[in-house]
């Protein structure tokens, strides 16, 4: 590869851009996935997560930018890529009457070196329902079968898109455990999700995507640390502040917003002192001042620039 990437980078995406008509699905995404990790792609709906992973799988042609999977261009090397990457797509069903075992045997016949369907049924806890038609499986069983189909070609990389959406909490936790088991068998996993909890629990590293851009890429612990170092203060003012840039231009301040006349300011450890002294210099006093402990939700609000709740 011409790019100076680490040897263990299995997937490298550089400046990916994809538009559908006037809609910019992915603006500018760069990331790399290391061999053997569970890599999270986290963001609200419409952030460009699915388009990004579909480009990695070769299902979409980027407008610009490059994607390399094990050094190959997924679009021009479709044949190799389909054997290299197993994909569990969002909202991809099977014919109603096909049995779990039949589906796995059928998909196994598509690949040069498939995994043993019986072994996969066992691994995914589907042996008991192997003769049940797809339409009669529970949501969790359908999802597990879908994961099995993504793995049956013996891929090096598995892309799992929103795999726990619509599952109950227990089924969700079981699925997480399963994903860890699969990773332990040597499969690199790219997990697309809009659940923070899922990404935090499962992923080695997370790329947070919003508005078609990567706004943060770190380990879950790193993201939380970054968020915890943020201070958040709220207050009212004794008078009117003519110009908000007085605050936003301060080095210690990262965001300023107002909520019902109440100022909400976030920044680093020095934010409190910087804000209070600056306001005093303008003859203003903060009233009813609070400093708040940052939560993980605040971290995502901070990183993505908006709340995640609307996404569910």
């Amino acid at each position: 590869m011409p790019e100076n990437t680490a040897a263990e980078d299995l997937v490298v995406v550089r400046n990916l851009r994809k538009t559908y008509g006037a809609t910019v699905a992915v603006d500018d995404v760069s990331l790399s996935v290391r061999s053997g990790e569970i890599f999270g792609v986290l963001g609200p709906n419409g952030a460009g997560k699915t388009t990004t992973v579909e480009s990695i799988a070769g299902l979409r042609t980027p407008d610009s930018g490059t994607v390399r999977v094990a050094g190959l261009d997924p679009h021009t090397h479709r044949g190799e890529i389909t054997a290299l990457i197993g994909v569990q797509l969002q909202a991809s069903e099977l014919p109603d009457k096909i049995k779990a075992r039949e589906a796995l045997q059928l998909y196994a016949s598509f690949y040069p070196e498939p995994r043993d369907p019986a072994e996969l049924l066992e691994l995914l806890g589907l042996t008991k329902v192997q003769d049940t038609p797809f339409a009669k499986l529970s949501g969790g069983q359908k999802q597990r079968l879908s994961i099995a189909l993504a793995l049956v070609g013996n891929p090096r990389i598995a892309i799992l898109d929103e795999l726990t959406t619509g599952l109950d909490p227990q089924a969700r936790r079981d699925t997480w455990e399963l994903v860890r088991t699969i990773r332990d068998t040597g499969v690199t996993i790219i997990l697309v999700t809009h659940f923070m909890e899922e990404a935090e629990n499962l992923c080695d590293r997370i790329a947070i995507i919003d508005g078609g851009r990567v706004v943060a890429l770190d380990t879950p612990a790193g993201l939380v640390d970054a968020a915890r170092s943020e201070q958040r203060i709220t207050f009212r003012l004794s008078g009117a502040l003519a110009d908000e840039t007085v605050l936003t231009s301060l080095a210690a301040v990262s965001t300023v917003s107002t909520d019902n006349g109440r100022f909400v300011v976030t920044g680093n450890d020095d934010v409190l002192v910087a804000v209070v002294t600056t306001l005093a210099a303008h003859g203003l006093t903060p009233i009813d001042l609070h400093t708040e402990q940052t939560t993980l939700d605040d971290a995502f609000l901070l990183l993505a620039g908006r709340n995640f709740e609307g996404a569910n």
């Binding site: 389909t82 991809s92 099977l94 009457k97 096909i98 038609p133 993504a150 070609g153």
Partner: protein, 241 residues
């Protein structure tokens, strides 16, 4: 090729498991043959110009029309609607192989419909078999391919199974009308009889009737079938995603 074969095997199993499809494709034509043979068998009106081959060709025509205008487009549009084709596109198999598998199994089903009607007619109702076997095979094959091409065209243009079923029904009833299902032989007004020779279902049934009476089917009907096949496949290939 082995991928196409394993797809055809599974798709055939799924086809057989759907009893509503089987009922309409096999039992309905057989029922029509039985009922009309029983009520009209003794008293064919010699003056209405309805050949004895009308009844079996109508039964065959309807069975195959249901394969082309109902089951094939509904299955394929349903696969697109549910993301089955999309999932397939993530594997080394091209989704076109699924189309080939469905076409193969629908051709086999069409052959079975013909076999069932010919067999039941000969066994239970003393009906004659087609007296020109080769022309009959040619006519039946062209008719089957033409109707399945219509099915592919519908599947290419709609995005849900429900839409496929609506479009199929909208096409099926006028097709049956113009094929003279309700106005066989001389009962159909002379001014619109030409439609019977050129609409796919009419051309197919007329061709099979010609072969039944020992002749090669009329050129107009054969050309009409070939044009229907070429036109439908061209448009379907252009729009199928």
């Amino acid at each position: 090729m082995s991928q196409t074969l394993s797809l055809t095997r599974i798709e055939s199993k799924l086809f057989v498991r759907d009893w509503t499809g089987l009922f309409f494709v096999f039992v309905l034509p057989l029922g029509l043959l039985t009922i009309f043979s029983l009520i009209g068998g003794d008293n064919p009106n010699p003056d209405d110009g309805i050949p004895p081959s009308f009844l079996p060709t109508m039964a065959i025509g309807i069975g195959i029309a249901l394969l082309g205008m109902a089951t094939l487009p509904m299955i394929l549009a349903g696969y697109r609607e549910k993301g089955v084709l999309r999932r397939l596109s993530t594997t080394p198999v091209k989704p076109v192989k699924l189309l080939v598998a469905q076409l193969l199994l629908h051709l086999v089903a069409a052959a079975l419909v013909i076999g069932v009607i010919l067999g039941a007619g000969a066994l239970f109702f003393d009906a004659a078999l087609p007296s020109a076997p080769l022309p009959f095979v040619v006519a039946a094959a062209l008719y089957s391919i033409a109707l399945l091409s219509i099915g592919l065209l519908i599947a290419a243009l709609v995005s849900t199974a429900k839409a496929a079923s609506v479009v199929g029904n909208i096409l099926l009833f006028p097709s049956m009308f113009f094929a003279g299902v309700w106005t066989p032989g001389d009962v159909m007004p002379e001014s619109i009889r030409w439609l019977r020779d050129v609409t796919p279902m009419g051309a197919g049934m007329t061709s099979m009737q010609d072969a039944w009476s020992g002749q090669w089917p009329g050129t107009v009907s054969l050309i009409a079938l070939v044009v229907a096949i070429a036109g439908c496949l061209a448009v379907a290939a252009r729009f199928f995603r």
